[in-house]
């Protein structure tokens, strides 16, 4: 035994010693490992049948420690600046996960380490991932209390596993580990969407999420393969070095080759899947079947931004394509998705779904931002969006939690004035303000502006139709403000009214519905006996923290010299768009300090775009503010309650009636189409799913009839042959004799023919 171990283990030991000191603190590995450990512990609790909130505390504590570790690591990293003030990426390799050591005949050596690549981008992501995860876990500890027992442990096991996967995704030092995280978060998403596994719709939604994601994953995988064959490495540091040198592994110039545009496109497809961009966005709204904390963390704040992360991380590869084909597609897809999702969001009634579509829409902004070469803007939007969208979801979740699953904005009204719902309503307002981009007081305003402005700045020659993208996004911003406040005006202000929903909490039959008495009377339309239970400490606390965070994000925009703190981090990462790539922006590093006038455009034709002849960054402060306010005012007019909360424009006095309802019929089928999500699901169903299912059935039939049929036919051939020979065995002597004589004659004839024709031989 010892020999066996001695033979197998040294490989591991050597690798650790060889790479363990690769330029960063190895203890950063404790971030994913803590989460993994928490997940395993929860699993243990699941098997042991722990019926307490222990799993939640395990997860909250370990994630909290993870956050602290991340923060410590980040601060330590901040202190490693070199002489020129640059921060270098840290490479921490734990052990070699996959790899072929020797480049044998017909193949190449490759290795994928279990290792981490920590630069500004990873740190940024890790900070808000661990931070938000801790907060949301805390929130969930209360939110999920109906399911204490197996469901509770299951939830937190998957939750912690998600953080582990996300950490691998973000911290991984190579594409393969990113892929691990990528699929890992997909799995957790699957598990958590399907949390209420008895609901067929939840199971279907989970499946849909996984499969649609897999389509994107294929793109990522192909991109990975292509990257590997082109550069013979999948490790970021080596990869970026190769890309930087512009030489492929086979010694030829990378620039202008077909890989240079194909690799970004493949990676882009992966990003589209994970970040729910058109055409792969359809899974995200359905994913709202999961518990709300999941929606907040996974499907709003963190996992869905993985696509943004991927493109930002691979920015050197995207920029290496001089035609910017992939980036143009990214920008346009982002813009289109933003618009499409916003239009759908406007017509929905389920507040969680509205938030889901708004997520899709905001992700579209981020992609558009990446596409127009402002990775800093995109990252900043990711950062601010993480807080306010999580906040919005958690507020919605609190509502859902309190009203037995009621999410229809027509059936809820005036929560602000109900007892115990004040914090939820106010924090919701904060979230809505951020999403709508209310000027100056919201971080959402600044991050959105950055993208909008850059869309106009980036010349149309570089990203085709970049300014059109700007206009689309601007229009979408108005729509966003409208549908955001539509929710707020209808649900949180106005006359008090509620109808409890059909609660679908509850998991396993075998543990009690101790909460049944709380609202079981609420079923059946009348809610005489139903008391909405307002959120308690954990939920309110988390909401407040998030609201605070969304405000705290504002000043970060003004620190540092690279588009704020986030921009500074991006500047120290692979996502940074170097000034060589943006010659029209050679002054961009310090543009918001106002010191950029009078510089000559020494790169010739490329001129930074303008909006209405003005510097976009300045003009946008006003334009987007106006657009956002218009959206809010329209919402107030159509949905606002009478009185101050309706900004004096509203007239709603009942829960379900409003001017909007009167407006709907006049809009003709458009509203219905929007409400039905433009029938995209139906279209996909008809175009892909049904045909594929039919094809599968045809294959099955072919398998039975043709493939197996042929086999059986061959099996039957001897039998048929025998049947046809059987008459010769008639049992009659003469028959046999004839057979023998005939056989003799035939043989003789054959032999004689051969003898006289062939002549040779005998």
């Amino acid at each position: 035994m010892t020999e066996l171990l001695a033979n197998l283990v040294p490989v591991l030991a050597q690798e650790v010693s060889a790479h363990g000191d690769g330029g960063g603190p190895a203890w950063i590995a404790s971030v994913p490992l803590l989460a993994l450990f928490a997940s395993v512990l929860c699993l243990g609790a699941l098997f042991l049948g722990v019926k307490s909130k222990l799993p939640a505390w395990i997860v909250v504590v370990s994630l909290g420690i993870s956050f602290i570790v991340t923060l410590t690591g980040f601060l330590a990293w901040q202190g490693t600046a070199d002489d020129s003030g640059h921060l270098h990426a840290q490479l921490i390799q734990i052990y070699e996960w996959i790899g072929m050591a020797n480049a044998g005949s017909g193949g190449e050596a490759f290795s994928g380490f279990f290792g981490f690549y920590m630069d500004g981008l990873s740190w940024l992501w890790m900070l808000f991932v661990t931070g938000l995860a801790t907060l949301i876990a805390l929130y969930a500890s209360e939110y999920m209390e109906h399911d204490v027992g197996k469901g509770y442990a299951r939830f937190f096991a998957a939750f912690a596993l998600f953080v582990f996967s996300m950490a691998c995704l973000v911290m991984g030092d190579n594409l393969l580990l990113l892929y691990l995280g990528w699929e890992g978060v997909g799995l957790c998403s699957y598990l958590l969407i399907g949390y209420f596994y008895k609901k067929p719709s939840a199971v279907a939604a989970a499946k849909k999420a996984f499969i649609v994601n897999r389509i994107g994953d294929l793109g990522l995988a192909v991109g990975l393969f292509l990257t590997f064959v082109t550069f013979e490495t999948i490790q970021y540091d080596e990869l970026f070095a190769s890309v930087g040198s512009g030489v492929m592994a086979n010694g030829q110039a990378y620039s202008g080759t077909w890989q240079s545009w194909l690799i970004p496109i493949c990676l882009m497809i992966g990003a589209f899947g994970k970040s729910a961009q058109f055409p792969l966005y359809v899974w995200l709204p359905d994913a709202m079947e999961g518990p709300t904390p999941v929606s907040a963390l996974i499907h709003a704040a963190t996992m869905v931004t993985a696509g943004v992360y991927l493109i930002a991380r691979m920015m050197p590869l995207f920029l290496a394509d001089e035609t910017h084909l992939a980036l143009t597609i990214v920008a346009w897809t982002g813009a289109f998705t933003a618009l499409l999702a916003a239009t759908i969001g406007m017509a929905q009634f389920d507040i969680k779904r509205i938030m889901a579509y708004s997520t899709v829409s905001q992700l579209g902004y981020m992609f558009a931002g990446l596409g127009v070469l402002t990775s800093a803007g995109a990252a900043f939007h990711v950062f601010t969006h993480a807080f306010f969208k999580a906040l919005l979801f958690l507020a919605c979740g609190a509502v859902m939690h309190g009203f037995a699953g009621q999410l229809d904005l027509r059936k809820l009204s005036g929560l602000l004035s109900m007892k115990g719902w004040g914090i939820v309503s106010l924090t919701m307002l904060v979230g809505c303000l951020n999403l709508a981009g209310v000027p100056l007081i919201t971080s959402g305003y600044f991050s959105k502006d950055m993208i909008l402005a850059e869309a106009f700045v980036t010349p149309n020659e570089v990203i085709a139709g970049s300014s059109w993208i700007g206009w689309i996004l601007l229009f979408t911003a108005g729509l966003t403000a409208y549908y955001t406040f539509r929710v707020f005006f209808r649900v949180f202000v106005g006359p008090e009214h509620f109808e409890p929903g059909d609660d679908h909490h509850g998991d396993d039959d075998d543990h009690g519905h101790d909460h049944d008495d709380a609202h079981s009377n609420g079923h059946g339309g009348s809610h005489d006996g139903f008391h909405p239970h307002p959120p308690r400490m954990a939920i309110n606390g988390v909401l407040l923290i998030l609201a605070l965070c969304s405000f705290l994000a504002i000043p970060t925009y003004f620190v540092g010299k690279h588009h704020g703190w986030v921009g500074g981090l991006i500047h120290e990462s692979s996502a940074y768009v170097p000034s060589e790539a943006t010659p029209w922006l050679h002054h961009a590093d310090d543009d918001h300090t106002g010191d950029h006038a009078g510089d000559a455009h020494h790169e010739g034709d490329l001129v930074a775009g303008t909006i209405l002849g003005q510097d976009p960054h300045k003009a946008m402060y006003f334009i987007s503010a106006v657009v956002g306010l218009i959206g809010i005012l329209v919402a107030a007019r159509l949905h606002g309650p009478a009185g101050a909360w309706g900004l004096g424009l509203g007239s709603r006095t009942e829960a379900a009636t409003s001017r909007a309802d009167a407006l709907l019929p006049r809009m003709g089928p458009v509203a219905r189409w929007a409400q039905n999500k433009w029938y995209v699901d139906e279209f996909y169903n008809a175009l892909f799913v049904r045909p594929l299912y039919v094809l599968a059935n045809i294959f099955h039939a072919i398998d039975k009839l043709l493939v197996d049929g042929l086999v059986n036919l061959f099996g039957l051939l001897p039998r048929w042959l025998a049947q046809s020979l059987r008459p010769s065995q008639s049992g009659v002597l003469h028959g046999y004799a004839v057979g023998m004589a005939g056989g003799l004659v035939v043989v003789l004839v054959i032999v004689l023919v051969l003898l006289f024709m062939g002549g040779g031989g005998g």
Partner: protein, 115 residues
């Protein structure tokens, strides 16, 4: 066929008869025996037909023996006759046995075993 006849024609004629004549007769006998075996249903006649085929071979042996000017063929014929006799004894015993069973000598009466 020419080769076949060419070989035969090298033989020394025996009173105008060549080996070919004997062989043709022998072949005809053999064929007649075979045809008889196939066409007749009476067991005894069928047996006689096989005897005829044996004797066709015997005739050929004799003729060849003369052709080759040695006695081997004749010796062979003696043994063939012996065997034929033995077969005849066997055949008759069998035929009697069968006749006792079914009161018929029709070969087609015996077709129980088949397939």
């Amino acid at each position: 066929m020419s080769l076949f006849l060419a070989q035969l024609s090298t033989a020394e004629p025996i009173g105008g008869l060549t080996l070919a004549h004997f062989l043709v007769v022998s072949a005809v006998m053999f064929t007649l025996g075979l045809v008889g075996f196939l066409s007749r249903r009476n067991l005894i006649i069928m047996f006689l037909c096989t005897e005829m085929m044996f004797q066709a071979a015997g005739l050929a042996l004799i003729a060849f023996g003369r052709f080759h000017m040695n006695h081997t063929g004749e010796v062979f014929v003696i043994f063939v006759l012996t065997i034929a006799a033995a077969e005849a004894a066997l055949a008759l015993a069998l035929v009697v046995l069968l006749y006792r069973r079914k009161q018929t000598l029709d070969a087609e009466a015996w077709a129980e075993l088949q397939g």
